[in-house]
Amino acid sequence: MDMNDSDSEARESIWFHRRRRMATGANVATAALLAALLLAMVNYLASAFYSRWDWSSARLYALSDKSIKVLGSVNSPIDVYVVYDPDHESYYDLRCLLSEYAYRARHTPSHITLDVHYVEPDRDLAAMNELKLRHGLEERNSVVVSSGTRARTLLDRELYDRAPMVRTRVAFNGERMITSAIHDVAQSQRPVVYFLMGHGERDLENYDRLTGYSSIRRAIKRDNIELRPFIMAETDGIPGDCDALIVAGPTTQVPDAEVEHISRFLDRNGRVMILVDPFVRSGLELLLDGWGVRLATDVVIDRVSLTGGREFYVGRYGRHKITTSLKNVATIFSMPRSVEPQVSREVPDSERSDKPRVQILALTSKSSWAKRDFRRKSLSFDPDVDRLGPVSLAVAVEKGAVEGVDVALEPSRIVVVGDSDLGANQSLDSGAGGNEDFFMNCLNWLLARESLLAISPKPLGSAIYQASRDQFGWTLAALVGGIPLCVCMLGVLIWVGRRRGS
């Protein structure tokens, strides 16, 4: 009987402990579950209401006020497709920058959505095909910015300024390019640019490595601009929907009637880009003279040259919205002619808006000169005839707007460049990097998209470091030898101290 009682008590005790253990386990599990729910809720809220800051010295990923203004002016959702391999050197720069765009877009008054999609070219084949079909994606390592049916593709080489020759990255252009793309795709209408033909001008369909203009045509198209070649004699004037006109390298004289049409177009607040080569009588000289620009009959030679003084880098730019983003970039000119402002009397303030304002865009170095007679065998400087540098190679003209006065007045604008090779395939593909930027900046300024040009590239100074193998060896010795040795000695001292103490 006693045995049965103790058995029963033992069994009861075992069950009691089992029940207690189960109850404790259930208690811990319930607490863990509730805490996990709380954890999920906290992080869900944190993902919805978050803040970001850029603490880096260069502020590579912080957006300028101009970009924030552009985001604020957008009303439709924006999709950004980053078509990059995650191991690509630009991937994390883009990721950080685009996260900032998405963050800022949420805080605009219109609360637009800016969704960033990361597409791996080798993995997301369906997404790649869709981008190719819908937005004409041509190559990997690109960013596609789209809104509805409009899209703009940015290539990796456009996102960085690179040092001439060595091709290392010196500045990050991401903000300027992406803001510009958002601005373009958000616009309801694409600007229309007419390209004058019929006088031996450069050919947009020509893929020739030296003289063709096919690369600049692709760049213009990528900038969401509609480019239409036209012969003025066939259209009897400049079409009414023309936002800007390009006259690139005429080899024969433009007839007076057509010059008259261009003049009237400019008087109607038109925008014209003129690229003229030396020793060509283009017929535009008189028109430009009236706008305060002097096209000299010369050719510019620079000692700091690439080949025999005829082709050279230009890195000195005048202060203008067009050149703001070209601080670290060189542009190649090939046998240019000088293009300079006319020397004129001082204009009183009251007349200032009616007078064309001419500003120099690009200048040669002090070791250059403008050679008057290029047919002579010698290219050397002749003090009697030639003019010593720096020589102006490009100017921007504006009439109708007064500096500092914000009025809704559309000014007339002209850009004159003394070399039509500026936009040729050879100059664009030379690796200097500046020619395409210079050309597109001029065009964007003419199209009044200059607010975007003022976003400067951000120098990658903090990232650039060069050390020799020996220097790496010394650093390695200090880090791997010095610091651990100090810690090791400290450990030995404590160990010895403890042994003596005991």
Binding site: S462, A467, L476
Partner: protein, 243 residues
Amino acid sequence: MKGLLTVWRRELSAHFLSPVAYVTMVVYLLVAGWTFVWAVEKNQEIGDPITVSLFVALFLWLPITITVITMGLFAEEKRSGTIETLMTAPVTEWQVVLGKYAGAMTFLLVTMAPSVGYLYIFRTFSGGVPFIDTGALAAGYTILLLVSAFCVSTGLLMSLLTRHQVVAAIACFCAICLPFILRVLSRAVPRNAGAVLEYMATELHILEFARGVVDTRPMVLYLSGTIFMLFLAVRVLESRRWT
């Protein structure tokens, strides 16, 4: 508070008076220093910020270092039976857990502290760094501190769940490595699940913070994760009293 400080002091003396601790520190500094120089040399031509090389080197050896530090926190006490003495002392479970956690964190921070001078040493010997981006350095150390805090709390919980140090070490290492491989995992799952995994991927957080970009989302993630792990550890420790 007094109980917490007592446990913390006990943990500190256990760490800093043990030769194993110094071996851990020396090995970590050796491999982290070597990895840093290797990464800088490799990244020289790409033009990535030097702070990225620094934090990649520091994070790469973090899981194994934290595993070594935390695996014995409770497992060793259980094995040797000193856990009973500790639990009968006039300290609460919270004080025990927080005291041990603070001790492990202090030791880890002391181990990593010399790395602050890596960039300055590199500049002295190479003369190649024009200036040191202190903002990016501060952002990188912020995420290093937060990730370390989370990993130590995870290691502490794993150590509490077993009495065998080897089992604790394996569990610690696997649990700590998980956030580091979420980026790779996110690429192998459907897009929506991948987005959630990417949100928690430590690799992405490190590479963004090392560039100077500070985001509150990962900060909240690691802080809340740390508190969650410590809460679980306290509940598990409390449950010992009732079983």
